[in-house]
Amino acid sequence: MPTLSRCFLRVGLLCLAIGMVPGGLILVQKGTGWFPVFWVLLPAHTYLVLIGGLSQCTLGVCYWIFPRFDGGASRGNTTLAWCSYITLNAALGLVVLHPLLQELYGDVAAEVTFVSAGILQGCAALTFVWHIWPRIRPSATVARRPG
């Protein structure tokens, strides 16, 4: 398994594990009526599970499994894929830190944080698609079958 896939998968699994906790707390709140404050965790739960967890696990496996070039020696432009990993996790970090930044620096800082996270997340998607698109093709073994 290549290094970048291991990075995506480890962070993805960590985000899943962490993201399930606020979701569980919200469900406990629904069942018991205690601690309505848990609902502030809903955006963190959604983002950590969907973007941090499931998406990164999917990207990690795609980077690992999709057809390669040059007889399996190359995965193409890996710099793009690394950019995707870095920008996606930077966006994730900003979203997670958003409540603290809002508390310390006010609403303007919070808005800048969200805008930055949005741009970084968009860049992550663009760079990964740019990397993986040429790899969406028949694998070499399929191409060599007599027709």
Partner: protein
Amino acid sequence: MLYFLCGFVLGGLLLSTLGWKHQAIFGVLQPVYWHLLVVGWLMQCIFGVAYWMFPPFSKDQPQRSEPLGWFTYGALNLGLLLRAVVEPWHSLSPQAGVGWLLVLSAVLQVAAVWIFVINTWGRIRGRRR
């Protein structure tokens, strides 16, 4: 795939009854819809493929711990099915005992994911030389 089918059918029903969204029943089904798809379908497909395809943990224990794998499967599905039944019921007609089933659902689902992560972590590795 069963969750995919049920989730999409439920979503279709919710969409087609969008004009009736003032009815309480449709509002309480929204979280069920999302969790059937995200947890029941997407997450479970990812877990299944990871369990199957990730590099073996060792020659003797390729999937590391099969009992933990089965625990993940059982706890995730039991927790999700409990939620699918109890959450709308409790929202429409809250009762003291029923709410605690949601607590059980939460514990089962969180435990399932944590056990999966622990059981899978050692399989995220490069090629052994």
